[in-house]
């Protein structure tokens, strides 16, 4: 249930160019639609930007799949959380609301949800996913933890995220300053 290579998201390297989204649109499974996001965090004060890809949650496994009432989201043995099967998806958007990262996208015209499947047509045969393959700055990097550890001094890679009382371990990683081992997101609201 683990991925030998995964995506490492390093916001400190992101130049906000949008090559990742441009490349995501080129995936043969969903041409013309980007299934990832890129945000300028606060453009009024900074040029800092952050790409968001599906993190392919491991433990608890794939909240999006767990809340799907029709089992449309397959989690394959290699840990990849697939896009909802169009023949099953009923467009209820449970997965859209269940995802902690805001990744699944609801297509109003199709009444279907699409999400990143880690470019399964590519990664299942050893190629990198489109977004990380093209990323000019290695803000999205597809490889192993050892490679990242060796090449990025003073940085740590974390795959554990804390949302209030809920801890989540993911298949993809975030690269952060070295003092972090878990990224904690403060609870918003009551």
């Amino acid at each position: 249930m683990t991925m030998e290579r995964s995506i490492f998201v390093d916001p400190s390297r992101c130049i906000g160019c949008g090559a990742c989204m441009a490349a995501c649109r080129e995936c043969d499974g969903h041409r013309g639609k980007s299934l990832m996001n890129l945000d300028f965090l606060d453009r009024s004060t900074s040029t800092a930007a952050l790409p968001t890809v599906c993190m392919h949650c491991v433990d608890p496994v794939a909240p999006c799949a767990q809340v799907c009432p029709v089992d449309a989201i397959l989690v394959s043995e290699d840990g990849v959380v697939h896009s909802p099967d169009a023949s099953r998806c009923i467009g209820c958007q449970n997965c859209v609301h269940g995802c902690p990262w805001g990744v699944p996208k609801f297509d109003v015209e199709e009444q279907l949800v699409h999400k990143c499947d880690l470019c399964y047509d590519r990664t299942s045969v050893g190629l990198g996913p489109m977004c990380a393959t093209v990323c000019p700055s290695d803000a999205l990097y597809y490889g192993s933890e050892d490679e990242v550890r060796a090449s990025r001094p003073r940085r740590a890679a974390v795959d554990v995220f804390s949302f209030g009382r809920q801890e989540l371990q993911t298949g993809n990683w975030m690269v952060v300053p070295e003092e972090f081992s878990v990224l904690t997101f403060p609870l918003v609201g009551p």
Binding site: A19, P136, V158
Partner: protein
Amino acid sequence: MTDTGRRRPFRHLTPPGVDDLHSAGGDAAGRWETDKPDERWVATHCAFCGVQCGMHLRVVGDEVIGVEPRMDTHNRGKLCPKGVAAYQQISHADRLTYPLVRDADGLRRATWDEALDRVVDGIRRVQTAGGPDAMATYGGASMVNEKTYMLGKFARVGLGTRFTDYNGRMCMVSAGAANYRSFGIDRTANPITDVAMADVLLVLGANVPETFPIYIRWFWEAMDRGATMICVDPRETTLARVAQLHLPIRPGTDGALLNAMLHVVVHEGMLDEEFIAAHTSGFEEAKAAVEPWTPARAADTCGVPAADIVRAAELFGSADKAMLSHARGLEHQVMGSRNAMAAINLCLATGNIGRPGAGYGTITGQGNGQGGREHGQKCDQLPGMRHFTDPGAIEHVAGVWGIDPSEMPEPGEPIFRQLERMEAGEIRGLLNICSNPMVSWPDQGRTQRILEGLDLYVVIDIFLSESALLADVVLPGSAWAETEGVVANSDALVCKINKAVDPPGEAKPDIWILTEIARRLGREEQFPHMSAREVYDELRRASTGGRADYTGITYERLEAEGPIAWPCPTDDHPGTPRMFEDLRFYTDDGKAHFNAVEVDPPAEEPDDDYPIRLTTGRNVAQYLSGNQTRRLGYLSDQTPAPWVEIHPNTAAAHGISDGSPVRVTSRWGTTVLPALVVRTIRQDTVFIPYHWGHPVAANQLTKASFDPISWIPAFKTAAVRIEASDEAAWAVTPPPVHQGGAR
């Protein structure tokens, strides 16, 4: 790295083809089974920018349907958004597919014969009335070298005119002039990969992440190694954001800054005296010129603290290996060439040249920005980067071209001097290929008056640009994936562009068009119809013995070995990625030359009427005048229209809020744009990206003022006033976009 207790075993998978780092040529279709059995992959390089990323074009039948990353040496599969979308222009619905001629009702469809007759008759009329020099050509550095070479030959031999120039006049000419005066040769000294090996990086006027995204990895690699980054830019770019030292100087004051840095280097004993004595000349004059430029004086001029200038100089001067890189920010000024000379002075004074990780680089913008200035479309140049001042060069090239040396026209003039001759009625005709002056030239109103006033104005392009709309005849040419050819990238690496499909409809290869016009003008002997390969072989012969010597760079070698850096004089020469490693220079005395730099103020200084500095520049999703990228769905979605970047304090003082319309007015024009209110720009400066045409063209606001050495326009230093506007920001009507992915 914190031990999470969940570390996974790692097994390296080698994707098919990934180790094949030199697959410049050939068809990689065999390596990947697709569900489209007739899909073939054409290995090539990107259409946009001087990085020249390797890519595969995915072709089905006669249509390019997509892009597949390619593990080429310098981009290793990486692409910026322009690179990903580049293929979408090839089969774009807006492509020009038949010739157009102007009659009383405007442009209408014509046959090739009718259109070419119109061109040839027009040229004859213009040249009969005003002599051969009454006709001019204007080319572009996005064309492959086969086309730029052919244009230079077409002008000198086909038309017999001395007036040819190209749009690198707005790109590389300041750096080129400085390179010539300092090193005797015009190309980047160190490859960009040297950045990764440097201890200190000084980046001036180069928004690397936005304009050369692929190059940013070398900067990140340097910083991972512990290198110190100094970034000089009036805006906080994503590079400046992570730099140890950011100097947000006033636009147009780079020369003062660099002179002050050399002043500090001199006074703090950080000179490489041994290097200066053995390998340079002119140091005493350069030293005398920087003497008045104390850090305090420069701080006043540049608008940054003196202590930061001193710190930058100390970091650069004390480094074992320092790399200085600059781009158009420093060059688009009346001081452009002198700024670049001041940058080179600093490198020479500290012995930073000719070593791995220590040196100097001008980052070239256009796809063939380096090659476009080597083989004859530039006004003062003959193929192989030869000069008219060398009688041997004229004889050699005349021999290759099959003309008598006495027939060779005199050297020409920069396009912006030619414009004065157009205004005076001396030049009456212009053939413009691959350029869009109505967006890219300063003072758009003047540009339009000049183009409309010509007796004959011919455009060869792939789309109906703002400038083509004014033409008497528009000839549909070929896009980059429709002919074979080579380009020289920012590092002077010659890269092979491969043909994927034929031009659409009745569109023709540009070489065919130029050849056909020349033949119809009676130059059949010098202009047989040639394939791209035949043109290239002629170009190589013409370049033999010149500074940009391509003799040893054959199509076969490029296909087998991948990109090769010139000079490469023989078949077994490995190419020259890094210049001056032997510390011998291409100058008359073999030494690198210091040039004393006197600092002049910018062309326009802000005053009471126009109190704000306007600087123009680029956006990552657009390329040059936007004639291609504004039509490509994803890119157009990212930045459908320009904006004006304003500091919050300045915005508040004018009652402007984020997103609200702002009227920006200069002495030369006015426009209304939405505000982007950000802290990432100086308070006294606003920024507008320039890729769009009227009515939102940044170049409505810029003054037609030029560097007296290089004749580059001073795009970076206009003076404007800003006002909150109650008009809706003029919406650009984007051309119909072709959503390439959703087919």
